[in-house]
């Protein structure tokens, strides 16, 4: 089954990333056949979308993230980025110029010992002229709110700041799409907020396509669309309201409902019919007080 209904709804936009029956298996030393980490996945992401990929550890979501910019090539099927096949080695650099990745561990993706020099790393690799790199670096650092820290040493920054530097590093490459692989998993609540609000801004204000891989429900609800992965397959693809109304699937995949949806579901089970589509704490408080007013 191809899950591209969502894409059809948004017709008119060209897909930026397209997975066509894509599978991926990790090699084992003994050469034994291992169950594929990603199995026969079909989806496409259009320009300007904000998509969250949800799933528990080992669901294949990180593997999918790495397949979006030719770090991993599908062992079966195809991944097409803006018309280019990621399996074609000659296109690798061009693909990575379109789709950048921010990884989970902030410490393991900073190359340089000075913030601005690290942000310059990508454009330098691309052979961008020096004056333009300077301009891009300054702009990217301002976008993520780290300009004042441009001369700092990365290891003295907080986790949230390091991740924002990593985001700036991708922005300086002028990618169309930024894929974030659990960017907040290792951060404290303050850092998480910094990073999430930065991501939202990139999407809403700069129109950058965002793919956010996460297992935090409160982050996923911010997206326009959620793809749920389980056991290497896509089990759900739709708006947050659609996805989280399928309580059964959420439970079966080892995930949780967002807090508002969770309470609403509990009340529904006791026969209190709150309106559909409640996700966040705010949604719930709003809907519950409305319910009280209506039924008093």
């Amino acid at each position: 089954m191809r899950m591209t209904d969502y894409d059809d709804k948004k017709s008119g936009k060209t897909p930026l990333i397209e997975f066509i029956n894509a599978s991926y298996s990790y090699d084992t030393e003994e050469g034994a056949e291992t169950p594929p980490a990603v199995k026969d996945v079909n989806f496409s992401i259009s320009r300007g979308e904000f998509v969250a990929i949800l799933g528990h550890n080992g669901s294949g979501k990180s593997t999918v993230a790495k397949m979006t910019n030719a770090i991993l090539h599908p062992t079966k099927g195809k991944v097409i980025v803006s018309g280019m096949d990621t399996s074609d080695e000659a296109l690798e650099i061009r693909i990575r110029q379109l789709v950048g990745i921010v990884f989970q561990n902030p410490d393991n993706q900073i190359v340089s010992t000075i913030v601005e020099e690290d942000v310059a790393f990508g454009p330098e690799n691309l052979g961008v002229p020096p004056a333009e790199i300077r301009q891009r670096v300054d702009e990217a650092l301002k976008t993520v709110g780290m300009y004042e820290y441009r001369l700092h040493e990365p290891h003295r920054l907080s986790g949230g700041q390091k991740q924002r530097v990593a985001i700036a590093g991708v922005l300086a490459m002028k990618t169309d799409c930024i894929v974030l692989d659990e960017p907040t998993a290792m951060l404290d609540p303050v850092g998480r907020k910094e990073v999430i609000s930065t991501i939202k801004r990139l999407n809403k204000e700069l129109g950058i396509t965002v793919v956010l891989v996460t297992h935090f429900m409160d982050e996923a609800v911010l997206a326009d669309r959620i793809i749920i992965m389980n056991d290497g397959r896509i089990v759900k693809d739709g708006t947050p309201q659609e996805v989280f109304s399928d309580v059964k699937t959420i439970r079966e995949t080892g995930l949780e409902l967002p807090i508002g949806a969770n309470l609403a579901e509990r009340l529904r089970n006791s026969g209190i019919n709150l309106k559909k589509g409640i996700l966040t704490a705010e949604d719930f408080a709003e809907a519950f007080s409305q319910f009280v007013v209506n039924n008093r």
Partner: protein, 273 residues
Amino acid sequence: MVRDITIGQYFPGNSVLHNADPRLKLVLSFVAIIFIFVCNNFYSLALVALFSVVAVLSSKISLKIILKGLRPMLILLIFTSALQLFYNKQGEVLFTSRYLTITTGGIYTTIFMVIRIICLVLVSSLLTYTTSPTQLTDGIERLLSPLKVFGLKNGVHTLAMMMTIALRFIPTLIDEIDKITSAQKARGANLETGGIVKRAKALLPIFIPLLVNSFRHAFELSLAMSARCYNGGEGRTRMKQLKLQTRDYILMFSMLIFVGGVIALNIIFESVI
């Protein structure tokens, strides 16, 4: 603690030395170190000391940091000067008793040695204090670039990149050693007592996780670098261009005066060591 060591650290700033071309700084540091050893009388030594002080001042780095950098040398200085003072028997005898004799030769060499070592540490640490590791490796890469002619084209870039990454990860690894050590101590690991074999064995619980973690860092970093289009040195540009500017020529000129001064003073005055 390991993290107290400042040698090799970089302190961002905006001084003449910070802004100078790293290639020039590398060469000039090398020349300065040679001439710290060339001086052989008190006049040229004074010039060397003056040069070092001026260099330190022009870096605008706080005296606190400079002094902290010197601290690890203190024991070495005291120990070696004591040796010199008591065992050097050249020159006039100034003081003598049953166990020790102090001579003018001893005093001269001691003074020379102490000042030389201090100047040496000052000048060489100024290089890293005022030059970011990336600039430093950049400078080394470009200074070594003539080697590319001998078929070492990628070698030079790779070497420089390796140095940058090593420098980048030193603080991360120091942090990690601290954390792993605390964690194993919390499980009762005894790292302080026992013979050499026992103590070496006791380090395994620290060494193995450190090694495993380092591989993880290296693997993830290599992915992150690929994702940012890293593809070796070919076709790379640099945000910070290295081009000698007026201030670099001024620096070079001052260095020439210093070198000439040391040579002249060495010729004019008699050697005392």
